[in-house]
Symmetry: C2
Subunit: 343 residues, 2 copies
Amino acid sequence: VTPEPGEAIRTVGEDRLVARLRALASRGLGASVVVGPGDDAAALRLPGDRLLLFACDMMVEGVHFRRDWATPEQIGWKAVVQNLSDIAAMGGEPGFLVSSVGAPGDTLSCVAEGIAQGLARAASEHGASLVGGDLVGSPGPLIVDVAVVGSVEEALMLRRSGARPGDAILVTGALGASAAGLAALLRGLRDDRRPEVAAALRAHREPRPRLAEARAIAATRLATAMMDLSDGLAQDLRRMCRESGVGARVWAARVPAHPSCQWVASLLGENALTWALAGGEDYELLFTCPAGAVDEIARSVEAATGTPVTAIGEVVEGDGASLLEADGRPLPWPAGFEHFGRA
Amino acid sequence: VTPEPGEAIRTVGEDRLVARLRALASRGLGASVVVGPGDDAAALRLPGDRLLLFACDMMVEGVHFRRDWATPEQIGWKAVVQNLSDIAAMGGEPGFLVSSVGAPGDTLSCVAEGIAQGLARAASEHGASLVGGDLVGSPGPLIVDVAVVGSVEEALMLRRSGARPGDAILVTGALGASAAGLAALLRGLRDDRRPEVAAALRAHREPRPRLAEARAIAATRLATAMMDLSDGLAQDLRRMCRESGVGARVWAARVPAHPSCQWVASLLGENALTWALAGGEDYELLFTCPAGAVDEIARSVEAATGTPVTAIGEVVEGDGASLLEADGRPLPWPAGFEHFGRA
């Protein structure tokens, strides 16, 4: 029996709700799913001869999302996209996802179902399948944790640790739209219809993983390192530098701020470059390649996906990352998102 | 720089803490881990020609554990064991785990490290590897979510849905020790040294997954269905019945209550059978096989693992599960653990 949308999950009961969520998640599972949701584990057929990729990302209410700022479907969608983006960052292709949801007993049944629908839709729109999950009570915030399994040919895999001095530093697409959307929400513009604000809100609520772009970059075999931009360029580039044992110089004027980021920054009297550099959740790709290979990679990615690629700086000896004006003067390096906020 | 044990994770900072947790998790990773913790995803080599098994289980503070009742290591250990038990339930072997941890900013660094150590130790003691994770802030409870990847030969895989009328219903080991441990904790006996109480506390805090037993059962090719007992026989058997489209009869006198369950029940004036039937988190295996195969399976499992196997009832046509006295009189079917507690 389908629960009423306005029924609290405490009164629906666990088994009945889980059966409903399972049905929502099981639509359109392919032949490679031998056992889908409902057993102790999903059983899956993977294409042979590749490395398995495996990652997870957790979203916590009040930290990563607010229920008055996003629909349950958007919350589920974004939880999956974060994970797909991790697979893209390795140069791989996603296969399967499982999701654990922790929810207070008074959560409405339609909220749990909306999240499941968002999870399943984000998976299937990107060629992956949601194959299992866990639903538990939570005395506190709503929690959505997703784990993903994907695969990659070993020769095409891209790690964070491969950047070498002399390499160019590139990003796909444009940055800062998600930060602009978050700023709009913080200013109460959650239903704003102006196209640029709406685009920023959409970027924040329904980001897209750069899966096709990642495969195009990997297929050139010219890139040396790659990661996805989830916590913002300022923080993520320093992580890549640390893993690679190198430093980086970024030219501020070359960082591609998204048009909606620029527009919303003007509207709100904020700095678009700061959002582009320090804002998180853009899920664009940050990667490096030998300086001489920039044009070829840019052409390949744009031809395959229509997405522009921009060289924003260079890898240098040493450590740390610096931000420079066109004339070489240093600018302050912005702080990225810190999950535990320094005391 | 290693954080001080008494330092709050808010002051340690995310990157420093993550680096420390990564080091704790990365000890002793085998050759099949091509990329371990620290990149966007782990990259893994799986033995060919098997199905991939994939599952997840979430533990929430105040629902699944209390920090004054278990050490951080025990919390991490149990989160992994739940997942290994899901792989056992399919007849498979675990390979790799990732874990998402959500923690309030004032959580002590040594708590996060203890959880990571428990996760890694539980993985390595059972032939699996912790290969990645996510650490995020939580405004509310501490949350530990684990996802597992394992594998199984397709011909040996056991599902919940294979039970047939006439099959015998069996369990490994003995039941109710974890419920007895929980009851002891609820009565304030958290450091009790009496051997039976200590055994019950250990069963609750540091359960063992029945991986070797599961492989022995699967290897006989005689079992028809299997699942693990995480929410208690009363609830889990009904789930197996539903998935298999059958009913079940269980003989109360045959249900093997653990000695520590019996002892603690006497001590506290409680009913051992109720704990054995309705208590969760035993992580024993519930399985079915044709009635004529009971002896052979029991002999095989005991020879391979030393663990006894007990036939407790039979699969029948229809639906639902009933509990019977030796003379056939029906007993009330106890309620299992419900994550959202009916209103």
